[in-house]
Symmetry: C2
Subunit: 417 residues, 2 copies
């Protein structure tokens, strides 16, 4: 049996036992896991140092190195997140609906764990603890598969977390990591239909595409956000400026940052110039159509290509397009957007309602920054990721996205006539 | 552009327009579709006669011929089902949850159509009308792909339904059928990631396996039911007999019929004999382990193989196993079952609770026949199918399984700090 298959068999066995643990047992395990991260920080940081040395030697970019690096402060923050998770209400066991059938059978639909969750992610070691905690909280066994850059960190973290959970009474195999970082191991994991109940990729567009292409198990797609802010002709110019600058500049490397700005032709001459100047002052590279270039508002406007409209820059760069009006804006967003987060700025009621109804995205906004699309901001407690698909969960996913349901029927001898 | 791709592009356009129709417009279209089936029954029945002639010439089995055949009465029943659908409440637009964020943004999570739904099914022409109606009801564009046996019937039905819907104001392309019944066309459909929001296979185990193996679009698996009835040592013998006979014999060809009977060793000698005799009297072939054979209760017990435990017979045949007790029964069900419907017969409270908690299935029963797993019986109104996966929907799926959600956020200039 291959390594991956062995993990899957062990995970299924663990899931069966996890499914009958109580919330307080699982919350106790989360607290033990948090304590273990602090108590055993030495071995985790040592493993992380090995990853950092190798990554530096390989000439890894500074931004990636920063995401890879752990220290006592970061470990403490990861441990604190596990403790917070222990405080959240448990969705498992919730009765979602129920009634008595005409024949007297009492039916209820009850939230249950999904079973075995696999998470494939890239170089951020904090995802290891985060994913392990979220799955344990919801009674799921988890199989993690991290990127090669963080291989030692991830193994050290998983080892510490799994042994803390098991010492706190959780079943052996509840938290596991695929040791091989080969492409074959990842593809085998994606193919284990019947063994993995859901696979969640967390990472860049390439990883997500590879999972969608190869997976035979159910997948929740997350993350890619080609988000737009659209300035309608009835937009308040000052509100427009604040929202665009916030959506683009406050944290450009995340999926809910704006990548594209649309503005109505009838007002673009007045509204756009101060916004472009402030973006430029914030170091944002501007690509745009001929109307934007013709404005001459900023030093440089690179001509936008078809590809720009479809690109998630994740950087201080924005594509800007002048549109004829609401209909063209909605068409453009539905054509090039990734159905993540889309915002209109307008004082016009009818325009706002039409935008909300016709734009096809996980989150649609009127007069607010796209940057709010986030489980924490939405008040969901913990966040597993942001789903950009329509099945099962859409938008920021809270703990309940890691659950399924079961119909429970209690009778006294009923048969079907 | 291929035929399938053209359908997909047209469906996406139709979905955008369907998404802004009102419930009453869609219900009106359903009524027009029902009327058209009756008014244009001649051409539908003529097309069906062509399929029947071809199927008979090809030596198709009588049971399949019966499922293929249409007549005025069956068409009227299909039309009536569309009219009933028009009477059901519309899940689209329902506000699932909502609150005001601390910064004043008003957030609501609203049910929206999935978008473009593809349904691949086998020879039953009634599925054509059923699927078209369910998708239209929920504001989804549908692409149907039926089996080759019913090709003329399906095209005639789709033509009548689509033109009735379009005449009633629904967008062109809201109901479409893939004309090619080639394997390539089906595989192309399964691969249209980004164009198809969900694919639902309705048919036998082979079809479902092929979809799971090949699909790159999100899938809802339906249907396969290897269901068990387990007679615990505290089972009432008379209740046990009635439930087993009902679960096996009342309609053996459907997914919620029992395929396997488990019985505790401590009571099998007394409980099993009368049940086996009644099953045999009902024409049921019995395969069993050595304990069952040793009973000598019936004329013939074929030895059960490993494969029998995993087989959905869909026929008057049952596998019977004597188990040591509750734990072995649960293990056996979780190993060989298809996570569809599972029932325990017992008068013991603790055993019932443990069975409900530990058996991993869409529907778990105490003291009732597995035959109740059905949208109608569960009171869900219409049924799209019975999901045997854990993502998105599990068990009988009502109209809401054909919806997704969208976060709608209304602000007045909020930006993220």
């Amino acid at each position: 049996m291959s390594e991956v298959m062995e993990l899957a068999v062990r995970a299924r066995r663990a899931a069966a036992r996890l499914g009958v643990t109580s919330s307080s047992e699982r919350d106790g395990a989360l607290e033990s896991m948090a304590a273990a991260l602090v108590a055993r920080s030495g071995e985790i940081l040592e493993a992380n140092a090995r990853d950092m040395t190798a990554a530096q030697a390989a000439g890894t970019a500074p931004a990636l190195l920063d995401r890879l690096a752990l220290d006592e402060t970061r470990l403490k923050a990861i441990a604190d997140a596990l403790e917070s998770l222990a405080m959240l209400p448990d969705p498992v066991g919730e009765i979602v609906e129920g009634h008595t059938l005409p024949n007297g059978i009492r039916l209820s639909k009850v939230r249950v764990p999904l079973g075995v969750v696999a998470i494939i992610f890239e170089a951020r070691p904090n995802v290891t603890a985060d994913a392990a905690g979220l799955c344990l909280k919801t009674g799921n066994a988890v199989i993690l598969r991290g990127g090669s850059l963080a291989v030692h960190s991830n193994q050290a973290l998983t080892g510490v977390l799994a042994s803390a959970a098991e010492n706190a009474g959780m079943p052996e195999g509840c938290i596991q990591i695929v040791e091989s970082t080969s492409r074959e191991a990842a593809e085998e994991l994606m193919g284990l239909h019947g063994h993995i109940d859901v696979l969640i990729p967390r990472g860049g567009a390439g990883l997500i595409r590879s999972v969608v292409e190869n997976a035979k198990v159910p997948v929740i797609e997350t993350g890619v956000g080609n988000c737009h802010v659209y300035l309608h002709e009835a937009a308040d110019p000052e509100m427009a400026r604040r929202i665009v600058v916030n959506a683009k500049c406050q944290r450009p490397g995340v999926c809910n940052a704006a990548e594209s700005l649309l503005v109505d032709e009838s007002v673009h001459a007045e509204v756009l110039a101060p916004i472009l100047r402030e973006l430029e002052a914030n170091g944002v590279t501007i690509v745009g159509d001929e109307h934007v270039a013709a404005l001459g508002a900023v030093r440089s406007v690179e001509p936008a290509t078809e590809e720009d409209w479809a690109t998630e820059y994740l950087d201080l760069k924005i594509s800007v397009k002048v549109v004829a009006g609401l209909e063209e804006a909605i068409d453009h967003i539905n054509t090039y957007g990734s159905k993540h987060s889309e915002s209109i700025v307008t004082a016009d009621y009818a325009a706002s309602q039409r935008f909300l109804a016709e734009v096809d995205a996980a989150a649609v906004y009127v007069n607010a920054s796209t940057r709010f699309t986030d489980g924490g901001e939405f008040g969901l407690g913990a966040e597993i990721g942001i789903s950009t698909q329509k099945l099962h969960a859409r938008g920021p996913m809270g703990l309940s996205a890691l659950t399924s349901s079961k119909f429970v029927l209690m009778g006294n001898g009923q048969i079907r006539e």
